[in-house]
Symmetry: D3
Amino acid sequence: MKNIVSFGEIMLRLSPPGSDRLFQGNFFRYCFGGSEANVAVLCSELGLNSAYVTKLPDNRIGGAAKTELKEYGVDVSRIMTGGGRMGAYYYEKGAGVRPAVCVYDREYSAFSLSKREEYDWKKILDTADAFHFSGITAALSDELAAACLDACKYAKEHGIKVFCDLNYRSKLWSKEKARDVICKILPCVDVFISSVYQAVDIFELDADLSDTDAACIEAAKQLTKQFGFEAVALTVRKTYSASKNGFYGMIYKNGGAYFSRKYETEIVDRVGSGDAFDGALIYSLLNNEPEQRAVDLASAAAVLKHSVEGDFLITALKDIEDAVKIGGITQR
Amino acid sequence: MKNIVSFGEIMLRLSPPGSDRLFQGNFFRYCFGGSEANVAVLCSELGLNSAYVTKLPDNRIGGAAKTELKEYGVDVSRIMTGGGRMGAYYYEKGAGVRPAVCVYDREYSAFSLSKREEYDWKKILDTADAFHFSGITAALSDELAAACLDACKYAKEHGIKVFCDLNYRSKLWSKEKARDVICKILPCVDVFISSVYQAVDIFELDADLSDTDAACIEAAKQLTKQFGFEAVALTVRKTYSASKNGFYGMIYKNGGAYFSRKYETEIVDRVGSGDAFDGALIYSLLNNEPEQRAVDLASAAAVLKHSVEGDFLITALKDIEDAVKIGGITQR
Amino acid sequence: MKNIVSFGEIMLRLSPPGSDRLFQGNFFRYCFGGSEANVAVLCSELGLNSAYVTKLPDNRIGGAAKTELKEYGVDVSRIMTGGGRMGAYYYEKGAGVRPAVCVYDREYSAFSLSKREEYDWKKILDTADAFHFSGITAALSDELAAACLDACKYAKEHGIKVFCDLNYRSKLWSKEKARDVICKILPCVDVFISSVYQAVDIFELDADLSDTDAACIEAAKQLTKQFGFEAVALTVRKTYSASKNGFYGMIYKNGGAYFSRKYETEIVDRVGSGDAFDGALIYSLLNNEPEQRAVDLASAAAVLKHSVEGDFLITALKDIEDAVKIGGITQR
Amino acid sequence: MKNIVSFGEIMLRLSPPGSDRLFQGNFFRYCFGGSEANVAVLCSELGLNSAYVTKLPDNRIGGAAKTELKEYGVDVSRIMTGGGRMGAYYYEKGAGVRPAVCVYDREYSAFSLSKREEYDWKKILDTADAFHFSGITAALSDELAAACLDACKYAKEHGIKVFCDLNYRSKLWSKEKARDVICKILPCVDVFISSVYQAVDIFELDADLSDTDAACIEAAKQLTKQFGFEAVALTVRKTYSASKNGFYGMIYKNGGAYFSRKYETEIVDRVGSGDAFDGALIYSLLNNEPEQRAVDLASAAAVLKHSVEGDFLITALKDIEDAVKIGGITQR
Amino acid sequence: MKNIVSFGEIMLRLSPPGSDRLFQGNFFRYCFGGSEANVAVLCSELGLNSAYVTKLPDNRIGGAAKTELKEYGVDVSRIMTGGGRMGAYYYEKGAGVRPAVCVYDREYSAFSLSKREEYDWKKILDTADAFHFSGITAALSDELAAACLDACKYAKEHGIKVFCDLNYRSKLWSKEKARDVICKILPCVDVFISSVYQAVDIFELDADLSDTDAACIEAAKQLTKQFGFEAVALTVRKTYSASKNGFYGMIYKNGGAYFSRKYETEIVDRVGSGDAFDGALIYSLLNNEPEQRAVDLASAAAVLKHSVEGDFLITALKDIEDAVKIGGITQR
Amino acid sequence: MKNIVSFGEIMLRLSPPGSDRLFQGNFFRYCFGGSEANVAVLCSELGLNSAYVTKLPDNRIGGAAKTELKEYGVDVSRIMTGGGRMGAYYYEKGAGVRPAVCVYDREYSAFSLSKREEYDWKKILDTADAFHFSGITAALSDELAAACLDACKYAKEHGIKVFCDLNYRSKLWSKEKARDVICKILPCVDVFISSVYQAVDIFELDADLSDTDAACIEAAKQLTKQFGFEAVALTVRKTYSASKNGFYGMIYKNGGAYFSRKYETEIVDRVGSGDAFDGALIYSLLNNEPEQRAVDLASAAAVLKHSVEGDFLITALKDIEDAVKIGGITQR
C-alpha cells in the first residue's frame, strides 16, 4: 500500500441547513473540511496510507477536527497543535440562479500562523511515496509558501512523487502573486492538476476556451513544456445554475490526452468536488492504473461528490467504478 | 431617497419543512408574508424609504409580524393595531408533478375587518412619492376596496405615483367582482402590473396566448389604451413542474416593449416571486432607471426569489444585477 | 364499495434526512411501509374497503405499524400478532449520480416466520372482491409462497379477482427460484403487473427492450398467452439520475394496448411508486373504469408518488386526476 | 363497553420547540387539542367507546384534526363540517420562573360559530351512557351555552350520566357570566370536576384555601348541597415553577372524601393534565371502580400527562396503574 | 426617555442543541451575544434609548450581528466596521454534574484589534445620560482598556453616569492585571456591579464568604469607601448543578443595603443572566426607581434569563415585575 | 499502558428526540451502544489500550458500528463479521413519573448467533492484561455463555484479570437461569460488579436493603466468601423520577469498604451509567489507584453519564476528577 502525505489546512465549515441562506433560521450545520484534507480523506477511503500535515489549535475545536480525520482512517500523528485559532468558513450553497456564497474566517489560524521551520520534511516524508498540496496552502502565508517549496524540493530529491492542485483563490492572493509563488514550486511537481479556466488565466496560456476539449489539450501541452510535468490533469465545469452543473476531466501524459465522460449532475453540495477528483487521481496514478481509468475514476469521484453534503467524499472504490460505468443512468 | 407606501395584509405562513406535505410530521416552518408586505420589504432592502400600512391584532402574533418588518427596515409607524385576528395561511410547496397547495385562514383578520374610515390617507401619504397595493387588498372586503380607491384618488390628486398589481385570487372573489372593482380604481393607477394570463382573462383582452411575447405587447397596448397607464408590466410563467419554472417579464411604456431574458429556474419557494418583480420594478421606476434595466432587474429579482425560502426576498441590488448579467450561469 | 385484501409485510423504514447518506448525522426519519401495505393504503384512500393481512410482533413497534394503517382507514382486523421481530429496512435516497441504497433488516420478522397454516383464507377472503399480493411475499419463505398459492387458488375458485405484481427482488431470491415459484401461482392470477424489464428478464420473453413501447406489447402478448391473464400492466422507468426519472405504463387487455402519457419527474422519494401504480390500477379495474383511464390513473399515481416522502401515497382521487390532465404543467 | 360522548372544540396548537419562546427560531411544533377532545382521546385509549361532537371547517386543516382523532380510535361520525375556520392557539411552555404563555386564535371557528339548532341531541346521544363537556364549550358563545344546556337536559331525562368540568378561562368570559351560565346547567350535572381554587373563586364558596385538603372537602360539601351532584372531584395544583408542579385530587361522594397521593413532578408539557384527570375519572366511574381507585387513577393520569408533549395523553391503563403504585419512584 | 451607551464586543455564539455536548451531532444552534450587547438589548426592550458601540468586520457575519441588534431596537449608528474578524465562542450548556463549557474564538476580532483613537467619545456620548461597559472590554487589549478609561473620564467630566460590571474572566487576563487596570478606571465609575465572590477575590476584600448576606454588605462598604461609588450592586449565585442554581442580588447605596428575594431556578441557559441584572438595574436607576424595586427588578431579570435560550433576554417590564411578585410560584 | 479486552454486543439504538415518546413525530435519534461496548469506549478514552470482541453483520449497519468504535480509539481488529443481523433497541427516555421504555430487537443478531468455537481466546487475549464481560453476553445464548466461560478460564490460567458485571436483564433470561450460568463462571472472576439490589436478588443474599450502606457491605462479604473475589463493587441507585436519580457506589476489598459521595442528579440519559462506573473502575484498578479513588472515579463517571445523551460517555479523566471534587456544585 502506497503512502501519501497531504499538507494543508482543515477548517470548521458552518452552513445553513439545506438551501437556506446564511442567518436564515438559527441553526448551522457544520462539518470539517479543507481542500487538502478532503483529498487526504478520500485517499484513505480508497485504501492508501494517507497522512495529514497541518497545525491545529490546542482546544476542543482542534481536537474535534483531528477526531474527524481519525474516523476516516487518516494518520494524524504528524499534526502539530499550538498557537492560533481554528480556521472556519461560512458556506451558503445557493440554489437556482442564486449562487453559492463563501465567507472565510481563516485568518490567524494555527496553521496560517505556523512557521516554515516547524515542518521537518525529512521526518514528515520519511516513508512517503507521494506528497500532495494545493495552491491554497501556498497562498496562506509566505512562510507556508516556503514550506511548500521545502517539501517539494525534499520530495524531488528523494524520489517522492509530488501532486499539486493549482486551486487558485482570489480571496487569498492576487493572480500575480500566485503565479510568482507557484512558478517557483512547479519545477519540483510531477503531476499538476487545475481547472482549465484557472490554468489558462493564471499562466496566461494561449488556448481558446470556447472549445474546452481543445483548450485542455493545448493548455496541458504548454504547461508540460514549461514545467516538465509527468502528467497534467485538467477539469472543466459548466455552471448551469447553483443546482445543476456539467463536469468532466482530462489527463495529459506522454503526449496523450484522455478524456472522461461529460457528466451533467444535480447538486447537493459542490464543495470538495475538485478535491475528490484529486483524491481518485492520486489513488489511480500511485497504483499505476491506465490513464483512461485514472481520469474516469477522478471525474466520477468529482461528480459523485456533488451529491454528498459536506466537504468529504466518503465512498468505496466500487461506488466510483459504478458511477463510471453507468453515470447514474439505468433503466428498469 | 424616494418614499413608497404599501397597503395590504401581512399574514403568518405555516409550511411543512422542505417538500413535505401539510401535516406530514409534526413541525411547521413559519414566516410572515403577504403580497404587498413582500414588496415593501424588498423596496426597503433596495434602499427606498418603505412604509407599510396595515392593521394587526394587538397580541404577540401581531407584534412578531411588526418586529419582522422592522428587522428589514420597513417603517411600521403607520400600522394600526386592534380588533380581529392575525391572518394566516398554510402552504405546501409541492414537488415534481405534485402542485403547491395553499389554504387560507385569513378571514376575520384585523386587516380584513378594518374600515375605510380608519385610513387617513392625507396623513398616511403625507410624504409619499409613491403608493402601492394589489388586487388582493381590494378583494378582502368592500371596505378595503373603497379604501384602495380613496388612496388612489388622493394619490392621483397629489402627484403620488400609483403602482397596482392585479394579483387576482380566485379564492377571494369572482372574476366579475374583481373586474368591476378594479376597473373603477385603474384610472388612478400609473403603473399596472400583472401576469399576462390573468390580465387577458380578467379584462377579456384580445390576445393570443400561444405566442406569449406578442400577447404581452398586445395586452399592454389594449390596457394602456383603456386605462391610460404610464406603464404596464406583464409577466409570463411556464410551470414545467412544481420544481422547475420558466419566467420572464416585459415593460410597455411610451409605445415601446422591453423584454427581459427568459429564465428557467429550479424552485425552492415560488411564493413572492411576483412581489419581488414588483419591488424591483418600483425601485427602478422611482429611480428613473431605463426601461430595459427596470424589466431586467424586476425579472431577475422574481427569478432570484424562486431560490429563497419564505415570502420575503432579502437581497442586495448587486445580487440582482449579478443575476441579470449571468443568469446564474458561469464556467470554471 | 368493493373489498380488497392485500397480503404482505409491513416494515419500519429508517432513512437519513433529505439527501444525506446513511449514518451522516445522528437522526433517522422513519415511516412504515412495504409493497403490499403501500397498495392497501392507497386503495383505502381511493375509497375501496381495503384490508391488510400480515403478522406483526406483539410489541410497541408492531403496534405502531398497525396504528399507522388504521390512521389511513385500512382494516387491520385480519392482522395477526406473535413471535418474531418487526422487519425493517434502511433506505438512503441517493441524489444525482449517487444511486439509492437499500439495506434490508427483515430476516426473522414475525411475518417471514409465519406458517402457511396460520392463514385461513376462507375466513380472510370471506367478503373479498379482490386479492392482491406481490412477488416479495412469495420470496420471503417457502411457507409464504405456499400461502400465496393457497390464497390464489381459493380466490380463483370463489370468483375473487387476483392481482399480482411480480416485484422481483434479487436480494430475496434468485431469478430461477422466482420463476419456478411464481409460474406455479400465475395460472390463478387475473391481472399481472410488472416492470417490463423484469418481466422480460425473469420469464425470458422475446422482446427487444430498445423499443420499450413495442416491448411492452410483445411482453404482454406472450405473458397473456402463457398464463391466460385477463389483463397485463407493464411499467417503464428511465433512471436519468437519482433525482430525475422518466416513467410510463401500459395496460394490455383483450388484445388492446393502452399507454399512459410519458412523464419525466423530479424525485423526492421513489419508493412505493410501483405500488401506487398498482393501487390506482386496482381501484380502476375494480370500478370497471375504461382501460385508458385505468392506465392514466395508475401512471399518474406512480409519478405523484415520486414527489412524496415515505412509502405511502396519501392522496385523493382528484389529485391523481389532476396529474393526468396537466402532468403538473400549467402556464400563468 | 360504555359509550361516552364529549362535546367541545378541537384546535390546532402551535408551540415553539422545547422551552423556546414564541417566535424564537422559525419552527412551530404543532398538535391538535382542546379540553374535551383531550378527554375523548383518553377515554378511547382506556377502552370506552368514545365519540366526539364538534364542528370543523371543511378544509385540509379540519380534515387533519379528524384524522388525528380517528388515529386514537375516537368515533368522528358525529362531527359536522362547515362554515368558519379552524380554531388555533399558540402555546409557549415556559421554564423556571418564566410562566407558560397561551395566545388564543379561536374566534370565528366553525365550532364557535355553530348554532344550537345544529345539534340534534336525540340523535347524538342515542346510545350514550355518558355525556361530557366543560365550561370552555359554554364560554364560546351563547348558542353553545344553550346547546350545552339542551344536551344536559336531554341526558338528565334519559338517564345519561353528565360529567362537567368547570374549566374557567378568564380569557373567554367574566366570572359573573360564567357563574350565571354554569349555574343554570349544573342541576343537570351528575359529576362535577374543578380545580378547588376555581370552584371557590367562581362560586364564592366559604373555604380556607390555606389548607387545601380541608378546603377540598368543604367546597365539595357546599357544591353538593347546592347542586345535588352525585360526586364532586377537585384538584389541587402547586406551581413551584414552570418546570415543577405539585398535584393531587379528591373525590367527594356520599359524604366520603377520597384523596390521591400528593405528587411532585417535573414538567414536559402541562397542557391537558386536568383533561387527563377527567378522562381517567370518567373511565373509572363509568366502570364502577371504587372511589379510591377512581381518584388514584385520575390523579396519576393527570401527573403522567405532565411528562408528555402535546395535548393528548396516549397511554394504557397499565401505565396509569403503575404510576399509582410507584409514583415513578423505584430503587435499583 | 434616557439615553444609554454601551461599549463592548458582540460575538457569534455556537452551541450544540439542547443539552448535547460540543460536536455531538452535526448542528450548532447560533445566536449573537456578548456581555455589554446583552445589556444594551435589555435596556432597549425596557424602553431606554440604547446605543451600542463596537467594531464589526465588514462582511455578512458582522452585518447579521448588526441586524440582530436593530431588530431589538438598539441604535447601531455608532458601530464601526473594518479590519479583523467576527469574534465567536462555542458554548456547551452542561447538565446535572456536567458543567458548562465555553471555548473562546474571539482573538483578532475587529473589536479587539480596534484602536483607542478610533473612539471619539465626544461624538459617541454626545447625548448620553449614561455609559456602560464591563471588565471584559477592558480585558481585550490595552488599547480597549485605554478607550474605557477615556470614555469614563469624558463621562465623569460631562455628568454622564457610568455603570461598570467587573465581569472578571480568567481566560482573558490575570487577576493582577485586571486589578491594576480596573482600579485606574473605577474612580470615574458611579455604579459598580459584580459577583460578590469576584469582588472579594479581585480586590482582596476582607469579607467572610460563608455568610453571603454579610459578605455583600461588607464588600460593598469597602468598595464604596475605596472608590467613592454612588452605588454598588452585588450578586450571589449558588451552583447546585448545571441544571439548577440559586441567585440573588443586593444594592448598597447611601449606607443602606437592599436585598432581593433569594431565588432557586431551573436552567435553560445561564449565559447573560448577570447582564440581565445589569440591564434592569440600569433601567431602574436611570428612572430613579427606589433601591428596593431596583434590586428586585434586577434579580428577577437575572433569574428570568436562566429560562431563555440565547444571550439576550427579550422581555417586557411587566414580565419582570410578575417574576418579582410571584417568583414564578402560584397555586391553582 | 494496560491492555483490556471487552466481549459483548454492540447495537443500534433508536430513540425519539428529547423526552418524546416512541413514535411521536417521525424521527429517531440514533447511536450505537451496548453494555460492554460502552465500557470499552470509556476505557479507551481514559487511556487504556481497549479492544472489543464481537461479531457484526457484513453490511453498512455493522460497518457504521465499527467506525463508531474506531472513532473513539477502540481496537476493532478482533471483531468478526458474518451471518445474522445488527442487534437494535428502541429506547424512550421517560420524564417525571413516566418511566423509561426499552424494546429490544436483538434476536438473531450476528453476535447472538455466533458460536463458541468462533472465539479463539488464545489469540484474542494474546497480549491482554484484563478481560471484561457482563451477564448480558452470557444471557444471549448458551453458546455465548460457554464462550464467556472459556474466556474466563483462559484468563484465569494466564494471569489475566477478569472483570464481570452481573447486569441481570429479566427480558433475556430468568433469575434461575442467570444464577446457574453465572455461578459457574464467577470462580474465574477477579472483580465482580453489580447493583446491590440485583446481587441480593439473584444470589439470594442475606442483606437488609432498607439500609443500603450496610447492605452493600454485607452483600460484598458474602459474595467474596462464596466466590473468592479480589474485589467487589456495588452500586446503589434511587429513582426519584425518570428525571432525577440518586447514585453512589462502594468497593469492597481486603475486608475494607470504600464508599463514594452520594450524588443526586438530573438526568439527560441514564443508559450506560453503570457501564461508565465499570469503565472508570477498570481503569483505576488496572492502574493500581487506591480503592477510595477508584470508587470515587467510578461513581463520578456513572453520575456524569446521566448528563450525556447516548450510550457512550466520552470524557477526559480530568472531567471525572472534577466531578469527584465538586460534585458539580460551586459558588460564584
